[in-house]
């Protein structure tokens, strides 16, 4: 790695880790506070809205003035109903956008398969996009459908996490919080204010925010169009982009306003906007680790989980940067200078924006797949085979290295249960985490949560490569084509949303198959996680003795890292061997 790369990555990690504690503290206050209460004066500004929302929604107050506590089943039903309603709304908006207002470009209704896929995609916080935003979705659909889901799907993840953390922190309790209150408070006090701040920052860098229709620019020299006629003007799509981009980054959504996502100059114009956007990807997932420690009244536990994430993230980040910087030996063999210098970034620049270069493209690719964000500022399809393997594998790990807002940490806590179980046995005690004994029920729920994404990715890819219609839209032959399909299902099956761009995914097969994959891995994890939360909440908490395995020390962090990596590696080694690994070996052997 170049000095420039080390400085940039260190700056990024430094700012990210510095933000963990204040943001984590703030989010803990929000998740534990009563109606209208929020720190930093936000309670005074936004608080009055909260009781009004509860009254409109019919949320009953409990004994302590907070909304009534729910058991895990009620909580799960609430979350599922809320998401089902969101699905119907997004689907309906897309199908009816031609008769609804807010459509200055006069776009027609979205095709049914694509509308289904997009609705699942945005509700499940995946934001896989089989369509090009600026030529498919009206402003109303973007704002009221996709924009709203950007907020509430993120809020869903944080709410479920809050329920699980309460389950771990409480003793002999039956309630794990109120899902309506959690959804409301997370949106009102965390997502809206943060997005507003970020959106203003982005606008300052030149990201567009307008309700006007597309702009037209007169070309200085006319070009010949595809049909041979002279083209004198360029149509530049605009729209209310900054507000959407802020939440798409912060809420690990990733669904871009424009087709090429954050590679688009109006979505991500400068180095500063790039830094802010990539920071926003990991900001909340990292901060939630601290929130977790705060809420279970043992901050070391939060640091330990964050440490495990960082320990996996940093080497993979360095490897991606190194691999992309090394470039393609095939290109080097043609006599092209691949070395970085003051005059050029060097390395593999195919599919990368010149204004971001190798380091910021690789950083973004690693961050966006570590977190289940899925926005891109470069085309992962064009990465070197191993440079593309790392983002794919980060998704296949189950999106638990930072992961989605809330969902990353609750997924990681499921891995913690597995790690604690094996580690507990190895020290000769019935395994316990935060004093809660891990028994068959928790183990079953953790097993489902870990198993579902693996199963979805593997079987989805298997079905696709046997289906002629699915094979037909693969752009490259051989192992790279296989990687494209595997990447698509890894992305959908872990609610990431990024794509190996070569795959033509807006087909009936992929719209349905990937839609189902997104749906399964979102809700078949949420339900077991909430069930585990309910089961943990009613347990007694065993006191700590010298025989208790400390889950905040380096040994356990190492154990957790090993479990995540081993499960991820053992599951996907054969598939990866047939995709990026063989592609790499062939490239080297040429």
């Amino acid at each position: 790695m170049t000095v420039n790369a080390v400085v940039q990555l260190a700056l990024f990690l430094g700012v990210l880790l510095a933000a963990v504690k204040p943001l984590g503290w703030y989010m803990a206050r929000v998740l534990e506070g009563g109606p209208g209460a929020a720190p930093l004066g936000l309670g005074r500004v936004l608080g009055p809205a909260e009781p009004v929302i509860y009254r409109l929604c019919g949320v009953r107050p409990g004994g302590d003035g907070k909304p009534e506590e729910m058991g895990w089943k009620a909580y799960a039903v609430g979350i599922l109903l809320f998401n089902a309603a969101g699905f119907i709304a997004v689907y309906g908006l897309q199908r009816l956008q031609h008769v609804l207002p807010g459509n200055p470009a006069g776009l027609g209704p979205v095709e049914a398969g694509s509308a289904f896929n997009t609705a699942v995609s945005f509700v499940s916080n995946t934001n896989w996009q089989g369509y090009g935003g600026e030529v498919t979705m009206s402003y109303l659909t973007q704002m009221m459908g996709l924009g709203v889901q950007n907020f509430v799907s993120a809020a869903t993840g944080i709410a479920v996490l809050a329920a699980l953390v309460r389950g771990l922190g409480r003793r002999e309790a039956h309630g794990i919080g109120n899902c309506w209150a959690d959804l409301t408070r997370v949106t009102l006090y965390i997502l809206v204010p943060l997005s507003a701040v970020l959106a203003v920052g982005l606008v300052s860098q030149g990201v567009v925010q307008t309700m006007r229709g597309p702009a037209e620019a007169v070309l200085t020299a006319p070009l010949a169009g595809a049909d041979g006629k002279a083209v004198a003007a360029q149509v530049i799509p605009l729209g209310p982009a900054a507000s959407q981009i802020a939440i798409k980054q912060l809420g690990t959504n990733g669904g871009g306003f424009f087709n090429v996502n954050s590679a688009h100059p109006l979505e991500n114009p400068t180095a500063i906007s790039n830094f802010l956007e990539v920071l926003a990807i990991l900001l909340i997932p990292a901060g939630l680790c601290w929130t977790f420690g705060e809420m279970v009244k043992d901050r070391r536990q939060g640091w330990a989980v964050l440490a495990a994430m960082v320990v996996i993230f940093v080497p993979l980040l360095a490897a991606t940067v190194g691999l992309e910087q090394a470039g393609n030996p095939g290109v080097g063999a043609l006599g092209v200078d691949l070395a970085a210098s003051a005059a050029q970034p060097g390395g593999n620049m195919e599919g990368k924006e010149a204004r971001f270069g190798v380091v910021n493209s690789a950083l973004w690719a690693t961050a966006t797949t570590a977190a289940s964000n899925g926005s891109v500022n470069s085309m992962h399809d064009s990465f070197t085979p191993l440079g593309g393997l790392i983002p794919m594998w980060l998704m296949q790990l189950g999106e638990v290295v930072f992961g989605g807002v809330g969902s990353g940490l609750y997924g990681m806590l499921m891995f913690v249960i597995v790690a604690v179980f094996i580690a507990g046995l190895m020290v000769g005690r019935t395994p316990e985490y935060l004093g809660k004994k891990i028994e068959p029920f928790e183990m079953k729920m953790a097993a489902i949560a870990v198993l579902v994404p693996c199963a979805v990715v593997l079987t989805g890819t298997a079905i696709a490569v046997l289906t002629p219609a699915a094979r037909a839209t693969v752009s490259n032959p051989g192992p790279h084509g296989f990687s494209q399909v595997l990447y698509a299902f890894s992305s959908a099956g872990n609610n990431n949303g990024s794509a190996f761009a070569g795959l033509g995914a807006n087909t009936p097969f992929y719209n349905v198959a990937l839609g189902l994959a997104m749906w399964l891995s979102r809700f078949w994890i949420i339900v077991p996680v909430l069930a585990a939360a309910g089961s943990l909440a009613v347990k007694k908490s065993a006191p700590v003795t010298s025989g208790t395995l400390p889950t905040h020390g380096p040994v356990f962090v190492g154990m957790l890292v090993a479990v995540v990596i081993v499960v991820g590696a053992l599951t996907f080694v054969p598939a990866l061997a047939l995709g990026p690994v063989v592609e790499h070996l062939q490239l080297m052997g040429r």
């Binding site: 046995l425 032959p477 296989f482 040994v555 053992l570």
Partner: protein
């Protein structure tokens, strides 16, 4: 242990200084791991266990069983000339199928070995359960000592006809026909059949030595025993059932581990099953350099699957469980369930009785401290007189101490005068004093009364006799108490306080080290004693316990246990008295002494046949070992998979993607690499049988150190061993041209 108990059987005092050392061999004695007498039937049993119904109990091994059937079918098809396209020769497929079957058989063998060891144990127990003739008496025996044994007309019945509540006469030479309680008489009993201890023990009616076990033999005298259990429910039966039935019940920990293993199996099943479509796609689109290769064969997928799923732990799981129970039985402990044993590994708090556990059973007189001008000789003389009839160990130790002060032993009967005997006042819980009233005699005109007892009781006596409480005695009493000793105050009938006898508790040698060991295991020790808080604190400090409960009553004990449990702690205790029963029933791990009462044994969930209160340490160790063995072998099993991928993936796809040969870092022969992996996978089960039976060693160190140690040994070891093992097997196969 009951608070009132003053001592245990004088015959069979457990040896507390070496309780953690291995228990004595019993029955067939300690066996080597591969004892021919056990191996031979185990081989037969391993074959019998191939029945699918047996296999279905273990999800991991069931998958191996199904895959073995499938591969055998493929081999048969190959031999019939219909083998898979591009697959191995039928002979090689057959060899792979055979080794897959060996994998199942080796797992069966491991289980059969463990069962065989248990069965040998049970058989030796059963030998002691021969058919006994019982002498049933119809009449309910009268008050103590009232029955004339010769007047009883016992009916001779078979022991198996006895029911709960029957009373039987057992005389010298007879075998006690069933578990029960002595209702009358006293006898010495040889309990070696159950305890392995050859020294006889005393059993008598009343108190805490009244319990007898069926199958033991009365050596002298006679006793009337009320039978406490119906046929088939005696301790021997329970012990045999536990040894033989260990394979049936699964603990919650095992169920959770089963779920984890099933999850891993499903993941690998998916990873292998989806490889076929991936391979078909790869062959179809390989283009660059994949000329004309066939997709991966089902044989290779079957072999890959069996190598990847956690067969090592899956195959040894039941052997580990059975061997754990076997170790417990060898430690002379009967548990009612495997759950109780595992709970022992989780114990946070251990309640121990002071007397007999922490201190030697008896306090001993250590010093005479005269007060108010009395001389030491005067005090010694009075103390001796008051203790002559006192048969308690404390009483005897006072006489012994007096002797050292130059006083001869006196004859109790010579104390009388003129036909009026001296009358001895025995100790009672009400008066808390004992003593002697001497008749009027020239040596002491007007008679002489001497009392010894607890400070406040004697003070009250002195006041009754018109004397004044001695300030000096009070000071001495306080001083003695702070030293952890028990003060006995001696006074005479004239209201004069003579002095104080210091009774010292003798803390057992080596006990402090054991508590330190418990502390390292993360277990708090709490001493339970009837002593006052000052005495208790001193002994607690000397013995090194973490906490104590003074002036304990059964209610206080129960409350203490509940209080700890409310805090989420797991409490273990040992006990033997009837008044321990409620606390034993409340504790999570309750070990009753076999010498204890029937009520105590019923209330506990384990019985220690050696009646050794520090046996709990051993039980905790066995419980922890069980879990550690499971966890370590699970880690080992999963870590093995890394090497297997490196062996199988390049070999399986060598034809489609020759470039993948770069992953063949072991430089295996591609045509034998898969067979070598399968053979390694089967042999590692056999290699680990001794470890599964013996258990992974437990060291009482900090949990994270223990984890690190086991991770290095079994995690890193599990990564490295298969690389060496598979390479070695591949070299042997190719060196000998076996294929």
């Amino acid at each position: 242990m009951s608070i009132a108990a003053t001592g245990k059987s004088p015959f069979a005092v457990p040896n507390p200084s070496s309780p953690a050392s291995s228990p004595r061999p019993r029955g067939p004695g300690r066996r080597g791991v591969f004892d021919a007498a056990i191996v031979r039937p185990a081989v037969v049993s391993a074959l019998m266990k191939l029945h699918p119904r047996v296999q279905a109990r273990n999800p991991v091994m069931f998958v191996v069983w199904v895959v073995s059937v499938l591969t055998t079918g493929l081999a048969a098809a190959g031999l019939a000339g219909r083998g898979e396209v591009g697959g191995y020769s039928p002979g090689l497929v057959l060899v792979i199928a055979l080794w897959l079957w060996f994998t199942v058989l080796f797992a069966n063998f491991a289980e059969a070995m463990a069962e065989g060891r248990g069965k040998a144990q049970a058989a030796s127990l059963r030998r002691s359960k021969r058919e006994v003739v019982a002498k049933r008496v119809e009449a309910r025996p009268g008050p103590a000592g009232a029955t004339d044994v010769k007047s009883l007309r016992p009916a001779r019945v078979s022991a198996s006809e006895l029911r709960r509540g029957d009373v039987v006469l057992v005389e010298a030479g007879d075998i006690i026909p069933g578990d029960g309680e002595v209702v009358e008489g006293i006898a010495s009993v040889n309990e070696s059949a159950v305890t392995g201890e050859s020294a006889p023990v005393i059993r008598e009616s009343g108190g805490d030595r009244s319990s007898v076990t069926g199958g033991t033999q009365v050596l002298s005298d006679w006793i009337l025993v009320r039978i406490g259990s119906n046929p088939g429910e005696t301790f021997l039966d329970r012990m045999i059932a536990m040894v033989e039935g260990a394979k049936r019940q699964k603990t919650p920990n095992e169920i959770a581990l089963d779920i984890l293993l099933a999850k891993l199996t499903i993941i690998f099943l998916l990873a292998c099953a989806t490889l076929l479509p991936y391979s078909i796609y790869a062959v179809g689109s390989a283009g660059a350099g994949g000329g004309g290769a066939a997709p991966i064969t089902v044989t290779v997928l079957a072999a890959l699957l069996v190598c990847l799923i956690p067969t090592t732990i899956g195959g040894l799981l039941s052997a580990i469980r059975i061997a754990g129970m076997d170790r417990l039985v060898q430690a002379n402990v009967i548990a009612t369930s495997g759950r109780a044993v595992e709970a022992a590994g989780d114990v946070d708090v251990l309640l121990l009785d002071k007397t007999g556990t922490i201190t030697l059973g008896n306090r001993q007189a250590a010093r005479f401290i005269p007060v108010d001008g009395a001389t030491v000789e005067e005090l010694a003389d009075a103390a001796q007189l008051a203790s002559l009839a006192d048969e308690t160990p404390e009483g005897r130790s006072i006489v012994v101490l007096a002797k050292r002060h130059g006083l001869r032993e006196r004859d109790m009967h010579a104390l009388g005068f003129d036909g009026r005997p001296a009358s001895f006042i025995p100790f009672s819980a009400n008066t808390r004093m004992s003593g002697v009233d001497l008749p009027d005699a020239p040596a002491h005109p007007g008679g002489r009364q001497i009392r010894k007892g607890s400070a406040d009781a004697v003070e009250a006596y002195v006041a009754r006799m018109g004397g004044r409480a001695s300030e000096q005695a009070r000071a001495v009493v306080a001083d003695v108490s702070t030293r952890g000793s028990t003060p006995l105050v001696v006074a005479d009938g004239k209201g004069r306080t003579l002095g104080v006898i210091e009774l010292k508790d003798i803390v057992k040698g080596g006990i402090a080290e054991r508590f330190a060991e418990l502390r390292r295991m993360g277990i708090r020790t709490v001493m339970i004693t009837g002593d006052n808080p000052v005495t208790a604190a001193a002994i607690a400090a000397e013995a090194g316990v973490d906490d104590f409960l003074a002036q304990a009553t059964p209610e206080k004990k129960l409350e203490l246990i509940r209080q700890h449990q409310r805090g989420g702690r797991l409490v273990a205790m040992t006990g033997d008295g009837t008044n321990d029963a409620p606390a034993l029933a409340q504790a999570d791990v309750a070990v009753a002494m076999n010498s204890g009462t029937q009520a105590a044994k019923e209330a506990g969930n384990m019985v220690d046949l050696d009646s050794n209160p520090t046996k709990l340490i051993e039980i905790v160790r066995i419980g922890k070992q069980l879990l550690i063995t499971r966890g370590s072998l699970t880690t080992f099993s999963i870590a093995n998979d890394v090497a297997k991928y490196f062996a199988i993936i390049p070999a399986a796809f060598a034809a489609t993607y020759p470039a993948l040969d770069a992953l063949n870092i072991m430089r295996l022969n591609p045509s034998t690499a898969i067979l070598s992996s399968v053979i390694f996978n089967a042999l590692i089960i056999v290699a680990l049988i001794p470890l599964a039976l013996r258990g992974v060693a437990y060291r009482p160190v900090e949990a994270s150190k223990l984890l690190l140690h086991n991770l290095v040994v079994y995690g890193a070891g599990g990564l490295i061993v298969p690389f060496i093992g598979i390479k070695a097997i591949d070299m042997v196969i190719n060196g000998l041209r076996l294929v």
